[in-house]
Symmetry: C2
């Protein structure tokens, strides 16, 4: 969980984070977890605007989904009941797609922030992470989107399979990343066999686990780019994410002659939350 205290003129007064996120706590613990973080900074009536999994079925309050095509910032915030009379909490709804079925929570706020900074921008936004989203934006609406489990696949493979013996838990090797990327982009169907090659290469040739880690990342991001090609091909592209991961996607897209701008996730999230807060004022 992350929180920012903002002034009336939208300056950040204070930023904080805790490990008490959605996956760690139950519905009736959200208010306490929030107050543990921000209680000492508030001194009177406080409006809290929240986005992300806090609005899921297992979150603080289930916020509805808007359905594509729809504005990037869905209307109708959900309001969980609070015990502390100082708090008034608004949870931004997510966005769903019926066919193929897909969902997002949190990314709609980042996209809204990006469009606030880049009015009338049309193109495709990539939001890399545990569940990477590719989102088609046109006329200030989300037209369609597609989620790839790339980040979670990386974690599950590198920690929960025989590859844990072959793949380091950190470190990086750019050449190995690009080698994996090229392999998956040219022959994405070979992914499952290339994974085992990492294991065998460790066993037979004592291959470097740091290079293997970057290679695995390249294989998975390459497979994703191959699958997401109908999204990014010939489009204006923005990648919104934390610096290192977002740069990998920008670099990978560059190898496909698909230039992308890199956008800082935190700034753009704050911009989106600010749009939502301004809407409370009408």
């Amino acid at each position: 969980m992350r929180a920012w205290a903002m002034s009336a003129s939208n300056d950040v007064l204070c930023a904080t984070r805790s490990g008490q996120g959605m996956s760690q706590i139950n519905r009736d613990q959200f208010e306490t977890a929030l107050l543990d973080m921000i209680g000492h900074t508030i001194a009177g009536p406080t409006e809290v605007v929240a986005c992300g999994m806090v609005g899921s079925r297992e979150g603080w309050v289930e916020a509805p989904y808007d359905t594509v095509p729809c504005p990037t910032m869905p209307a109708g915030f959900a309001e969980p009941k609070t015990t502390d009379p100082r708090l008034q909490v608004f949870v931004i709804p997510g966005i769903r797609q019926d066919s193929p079925p897909d969902v997002m929570r949190g990314e709609e706020t980042q996209i809204t922030g990006f469009l606030a900074r880049n009015p009338n921008w049309d193109g495709v936004i990539c939001l890399p992470g545990t569940h990477t989203k590719w989102v088609h934006i046109s006329a200030n609406e989300v037209v369609s989107f597609q989620t790839f489990m790339t980040g979670e696949l990386f974690a599950a493979l590198s920690q929960g399979t025989v590859l844990r013996h072959a793949v380091a838990q950190d470190g990086w090797d750019d050449a190995a990343f690009h080698d994996g990327l090229d392999q998956s982009l040219s022959r994405p169907e070979r992914l499952a066999s290339r994974l085992f090659t990492l294991r065998a290469d460790r066993l037979l040739n004592n291959a470097d686990p740091v290079a293997a880690r970057a290679h695995l990342s390249g294989l998975l991001i390459g497979a994703e780019l191959a699958g997401a090609k109908p999204y990014w091909l010939g489009q204006q592209i923005a990648v919104i994410g934390e610096g290192k991961l977002a740069k990998l996607y920008v670099d990978a897209l560059a190898t496909q002659a698909a230039p992308a701008v890199q956008v800082n996730a935190t700034e753009i999230t704050l911009a989106g939350l600010t749009v939502a807060h301004n809407r409370l004022r009408g």
Copy 2:
């Protein structure tokens, strides 16, 4: 760990299994684990022929690899030291491939058994499991092979990711399997996004977890068949495995106009171990 007591005329006298396999015990515990299983059935000098991970670096004794192209049953069994004077143990070597790096242990024995039953058979053998092998056989030799982590991917995805909320731990739906199979065979590069579709379909439409399980299996086996196409296309094919899983592969190949014979893994393993034992006699 599985063991069979065999008569001099190669009839099975007794079959047994235990949970004390390679991943559960250390090197110095193999003899005890074996005697726990078979000690009561032996009454004098006993030759034990073993294959599989028992010959790995973390096994009872490291048996060398032969390198492709090579005979299906590598020469030079490894012999771990035993304390019990009745036991004489022989571990069958594995097979390695230098490029791309790949390894097998255990499958060489099954392949040897299959060729003992089908002399001079040429074609491609598929051995589905945690790490599925595709093996090109010609002139009684292993020419090349390729391993796909399909079984381990299925386990890691269905138990170690967000898909655990969407995918049942057992049950089956044939139509959902074939739907996943078709999707991956036609567009294998979309795998990572189709995985998340299972999650979203559960969330939005309360999709059936049993159907999702079969669909996931179809997606992964379809992606494997797409990647292994250079192996099976236009070849004589045999699938060696436990009944249910082997039949899935045979059915999947049939949809690609690639008829395959299904072979019982246990029978063929025993046939291979028998070939190895006969070789001890010269």
